[in-house]
């Protein structure tokens, strides 16, 4: 403990009073001496004791006093005693109806006495009569333990139980007899006392300074330096304080933004594409045949206004058409059907961000390029807790003569590593616009299973060549909601968008 150079004013006053007493002093006396209430003095003494300046001790004792019913007896004998003495003075029996008159009691007291006469075994009831027993006769003139206690407490005395016992009252017997009568109160009492320790005395003798206690440090105290001569009240630092939450980004925003940052770090340029997209860019340019089930109304949102999009450069459109029909110049046999320009003009809400990738590739098919897009995509799904008509994807392409399936897997690994996943599987899959194609699975500890995160592959020549690109183009489209749900421990995708105010406030910025 560091050296004490000052004491808070009240502490000082109380310790000084303690030093004025040899040995211990009761807290009540102490309170009177320092003119403080007892509760406050107790807090101060406890504080002094914690600093070894004083000792606090307490003794527990039982206080006995007459209860209101006991006081009401007003010093007179118990009714059964009065009746017993009256009966014993006569023939030792009487009709119950005559008891009150015989003993000089009111009817209620006389009635009550019956119960205790029989309880104590002093008398028995025989039909309408009361007859004194041998025990009753023996009790005449010999007060019981209960009566002795009542006598000891007469005059509204409050006496320690030990004191009463010392006077020869058998307390256990008295308590047993009085158990059902509410004539005597017992209270547990604590006597607290305190004494100054040697250290405390030495401190006061050294003339330690007393300072006024202050809770709030005020501008005035700071301005005049008064804070130096006051005691700043110590707080219970373990107590809770008012809860603050900062203004912040949506938790899912941080996942979206981290995703962007990962690809920026990997040297990708960011792109975007319209939410309302032509079927040409959403499907046809990706070699998705026009009768493909993904283009059905039950999977894709079609747009009524505007219902039609303008197609790009006629040469590109023609190359795409020929590729669908018979492979064109791509070395493919194509899908073998008659391609419809009208179908490719229909507008849809983009079903994948690959539409952004393919537009970026068409804008500049010359390697080397790395492009990514993070954004919402739309599927005609009924809103449930598990499904929403909108979700977010990270789509990317690498246009590079050195690109290979190995570097596609390496890029995907780099992404998921940076997002905090270290176990993946790449399984063969099928997409109309990539070959080879694969699906990415990450290991999810909570589920104890592999979870599919998205698809990837190398764009088919049927996709790249009509756009004037002749080097491999690696491509991927990965869902981001699932990643966020894992990170935040959310079971229902809808909770990301219908987040509660508390969840927004309390979800920590850093998730480890």
């Amino acid at each position: 403990m560091s050296e004490i150079t000052w004491l808070e004013e009240t502490d000082h006053r109380v310790l000084t009073a303690l030093c004025a007493t040899d040995g211990a002093i009761g807290l009540d006396a102490l309170a009177a001496a320092v003119s403080l209430d007892a509760a406050r003095v107790k807090v101060v003494v406890d504080g002094l004791a914690a600093r070894d300046l004083a000792t606090a001790s307490e003794s527990v004792w039982v206080e006995l006093r007459l209860a209101p019913k006991g006081k009401a007896l007003d010093g007179s004998a118990l009714p059964e005693r009065t009746v017993l003495e009256a009966l014993a003075a006569g023939p030792g029996e009487a009709r119950i109806a005559e008891l009150a008159e015989l003993a000089g009691l009111d009817k209620k007291a006389a009635g009550e006495s019956l119960r205790w006469l029989t309880d104590k075994g002093w008398a028995t009831r025989e039909k309408d009569r009361v007859v004194v027993t041998d025990a009753g006769r023996a009790a005449v003139g010999a007060p019981g333990a209960d009566e002795a206690l009542l006598a000891a407490l007469a005059g509204d005395a409050r006496r320690p139980a030990d004191d009463v016992a010392r006077d020869g009252v058998d307390l256990d017997a008295a308590r047993a007899l009085l158990a059902k009568r509410k004539l005597v109160d017992e209270r547990r009492r604590v006597d607290r006392s305190a004494a100054a320790t040697t250290g405390g005395r030495a401190l006061i003798e050294s003339g330690v300074e007393a300072r006024r206690e202050v809770t709030q440090l005020t501008p005035e105290l700071l301005a005049d330096g008064g804070w130096r001569s006051v005691a700043l009240k110590p707080y219970d630092v373990t107590l809770d304080a008012e809860r603050w939450t900062p203004g912040k980004e949506h938790p899912f925003r941080r996942v979206l933004d981290e995703t962007r940052r990962v690809f920026l770090e990997l040297g990708f340029e960011e792109t975007a594409s319209p939410y309302c997209e032509s079927s040409f860019w959403d499907f046809d340019a990706l070699f998705q045949p026009q009768d493909h089930p993904a283009r059905d109304m039950q999977d894709t949102f079609y747009v009524k206004t505007p219902a039609e999009a303008r197609l790009p450069d006629a040469a590109i459109v023609d190359r795409v058409r020929r590729t669908h029909e018979d492979g064109g110049d791509t070395g493919s046999v194509g899908w073998g059907y008659t391609w419809s320009e009208a179908t490719s003009k229909t507008t849809v809400l983009r079903t994948h961000t690959t539409a952004a990738s393919i537009r970026a590739l068409a804008d500049d098919p010359n390697p080397p390029r790395k492009v990514f897009c993070v954004g919402p995509v739309f599927r005609n799904e009924t809103i449930t807790y598990k499904h929403l008509p909108v979700f977010h994807q990270i789509d990317g392409i690498i246009v590079d003569e050195h690109a290979s399936l190995a570097s596609l897997l390496g890029t995907l690994k780099a992404f998921y590593n940076k997002m905090g996943f270290d176990r993946f599987q790449f399984r063969p899959a099928f997409f109309p616009y990539t070959e080879p194609s694969l699906e990415v699975f990450v290991w999810h500890d909570g589920k104890g299973d592999w979870v599919e995160m998205g698809g990837a592959g190398i764009f088919r020549p049927e996709v790249t060549q009509p756009l004037g690109c002749s080097v491999p183009v690696l491509a991927w489209g990965l869902g981001l909601e699932r990643l966020a749900m894992f990170r935040f421990g959310i079971e229902r995708i809808r909770d990301l968008y219908d987040a509660s105010l508390d969840w927004l406030k309390e979800t920590a910025r850093c998730q480890w």
Partner: protein, 617 residues
Amino acid sequence: MPVVNLPIALLNEHLGATIAPDDLVEHLQHIGCDVEGYETMGRYRCAVCGAVHEVAEHEEAPVRCDECGVDYRERTDAVEAIDPVDVIRMELLPVRPDVFDPGGLARALRTYLEIDMTPPHYEAVDGDYTVDVDASVADVRPCIACCVVRGVTLDDTRIRVVMKLQENLHWAIGRDRKFASIGVYDLSAVEGRAIRYRTVGRGDNAFVPLGYTDAATPDAILAEHPKGKAFAGLLEGHDRVPLLEDERGGVMSMPPIINSEHTRVTTASTDFFIDVTGLNPRVVRTTLAILATSLAELNPGVVIERVQVRYPDGHPEGPAAVTTPDLRTQALHLDPARAARLIGIDASTDDVGLLLRRMGHDVATESDGRLRVTAPPYRNDLLHEVDLVEDAAIAYGFHNIETRLVPTMTVGRARPIEDLSNHARRVLAGLGFLETIALPITSKPQAFDRIGLDETPTLELANPIHDDSGTPLDILRPNLLAGLIHCLHRYRGGELPQRLFEIGDVTQLDADRDTGTREVRRCAAVAIGPRAGFAEARSLCEAITAELGWSLEAEPLELGCYLSGRAARWFAVRGDRRVAVGHFGEVHPDVLERYGLGYPVGACEFDLAPLDPTGAA
């Protein structure tokens, strides 16, 4: 995607090797099968139609036959339990219908695991069955391909395999029987050799459909039979329906709906007649090739017989005679060095050749170093050399590929609007605002009317979905404010004040863009509480404007979502530039009332792009 149960014993039998279920699962995943796991299935045979039903052991026995419709609760004698079977459960990959059944899958694994490297080879022999196609089918279901298969033995396991294979081919290639539908008949019930494919009136030619005891007209079958009801849509709008008949006029089937009961295949059947009808000759022929070769795998030693299909004058394919099935192999070429480069592995010509042989191809090296690849007839997914590259990559194993990054250096570049959006997010978060993210799909009442705004032309969906209350969600949001007010509504009763913002895209019509629309990056914010209102909104907007490097100027504005006299048009000024960015104000009590909000709300919404000092956003 449908899940198929592959009996493990049957798979091992056809593999010619015994492979533990766990290893099978791993191999199947490596070749691209979506395996769910393996389990024991209880089995029940339908005494009426012979169908075999499988149910997981923890599931109830079937209560009705989904093939013929008989109700087992009414006819308890119509169903009997048979031996259970251990199966691998696998989700089907529509692009590889040749591995939908244990025969086809065993064929793929045999070479992949190098158990037997003989490339699959199938011969059809000449037969004497013919199919005469009537010109009238051209409008309904023009194409047909047929074959005869002799010497088949079907036990309960195999009959179910054939049934499920048909069903799954219907799904994957046939798109629920639209593009291709299959009929398999007991040849001994087919009279004569000259089959006829024609159309009949809906009330004509009553026959007993599969699972029935009484004859019914096509119309009655389409209205009452379970399969008739399920697929009636495929014949909708046609007065006449297709019918396949034998030489004596006995009805074999009504494609693509139902076969006749008397040609039903049972475990006693050994010789089959098979037809595939559809809309496109390539699809029906491929489907037939896959089915015929899978049957040949399931029953080694069967004889496949050709059938001559004669198309008449006036039919898109006619006049011509075509012999089916087409079991010819496909010849492709592959540059092995290019394949190795594209996969990113070190592999010699021989290495690549071996990888392809493991995928069931026959491979020879040409004098120019290229590989001449002979692909089996059941592979309908090979459009280009790169499809062989994928086959080689799968044989190599994606898990065996050493991953790397492309060696080329490129410079990363964020979109300026995203950088600016993040600046704005930091400013608003610093001012104590919480970001929300709403779905961009919304409804017109929500976006306009309910926040007091007049409707403006906007993108509209042709096939909207509906929200919980049944309101069609038919537009992409034209503003962010409506979503934020809705958030305040949801957060009623929460601690005050509440300060929320969203930064995201709204969609506008724009005839200058190729799609006729464009996204505009917006920021909107709302604050509710006893002290909220115009003054707070103005303080907020001034802070944002200043932090983004501009100063604010305001002009009075009348806008339905704000109280009259407490709304401003918001301009940003920087040197001699002055741009309109948005608006702010105190939300109209009408709106507060509508949303049950008991405190004043200050709000703003603005475009971010004009605030980019570089002009790049």
